[in-house]
């Protein structure tokens, strides 16, 4: 189970979060689904669809929140038989990020939530403030999405 990151500052907080929450899969991505760091994926295509679906779910719940007059939902918890999924967004100096966490029966949503809060605060400190993420240009949007996948799995 390897942990690979596109942006190095995310690695330390991520490794600590995985150890504490004993999560099986973790994806740190932009709201567009572009992956910044991952843990537990062996195939790029699985990571891609997980990222796309995670981003889509957050987008849908955001639209739904708007319709019911909510500013936005902090976290989404999907309770499964063998797995639970925790999906939450957070604001960092490098912009809004989304974290998708899949965990098994060896831990509980309570613990994942507790350690997620710590992970977010750790990310906020670790993020290099000097160069905020430059917005993706329309033309090479697709290229940008794929480039992070390439870097995650080539290394």
């Amino acid at each position: 189970m390897t942990t690979t990151v596109v942006e190095t500052w995310t690695e330390v907080p991520l490794v600590k979060f995985i150890a504490q929450s004993s999560a099986r899969l973790v994806v740190v991505m932009t709201p567009a689904g572009q992956v910044l760091a991952q843990h537990g994926f062996t195939k790029a295509v699985d990571l891609m669809s997980a990222a796309a679906l995670g981003a889509a779910i957050m987008a849908s719940s955001g639209a739904l929140a708007q319709q019911v007059g909510e500013p936005g939902f902090a976290a989404l918890y999907h309770a499964g038989q063998r797995h639970g999924i925790h999906l939450a967004g957070c604001e960092t100096p490098r912009g809004r990020l989304i974290v998708l966490t899949v965990f098994g029966r060896e831990t509980s949503i309570g613990l994942v939530q507790v350690f997620f809060d710590e992970f977010v605060s750790a990310l906020k400190q670790a993020a290099p403030a000097d160069q905020p993420r430059q917005p993706i240009l329309a033309a090479d949007f697709e290229h940008e999405l794929n480039s992070s996948l390439a870097s995650l799995f080539r290394r």
Binding site: A79, S108, Q113
Partner: protein, 117 residues
């Protein structure tokens, strides 16, 4: 439902030295009902109480000791007590000088009352 919990937590909190008591969903480690003094983090207590309970049950099962009823964790600054029921457990954080026997009695009664609902 909630008044049963509140009533039980009131009785437990009357024991001298108790700083916080709460009902926790054992499976998820999420707080169900709580009565905490200032400075006690419900989320953390619930998560760890549930985790502690699960680990204790695992150990007891491994050693064939049967169902775990009560866990007491003595620490330098205080004590963590957990009474196990079915789906719900009762967690209490108290300072070192607490009358554990009395607290234990109230906690068992509380968790049995919750299980009966």
């Amino acid at each position: 439902m909630s008044d049963v919990f509140q009533h039980s937590l009131d009785r437990i909190s009357r024991v001298r030295g108790v700083q916080g008591s709460m009902f926790v969903a054992a499976e998820d480690g999420l707080a169900v009902a709580q009565l905490l003094m200032a400075g006690v983090s419900g989320k953390v207590l619930a998560a760890f109480a549930a985790s502690l309970a699960r680990k204790a049950s695992g150990a007891a099962a491994a050693t064939g000791a049967g169902k775990v009823r009560f866990v007491q964790m003595q620490a330098a600054g205080g004590v963590l007590l957990v009474a196990l029921g079915g789906e719900l457990l009762v967690a209490v954080v108290a300072d070192a000088g607490v009358n554990v026997g009395l607290a234990r009695l109230e906690m068992i009664r509380a968790v049995d009352a919750a299980a009966a609902l």
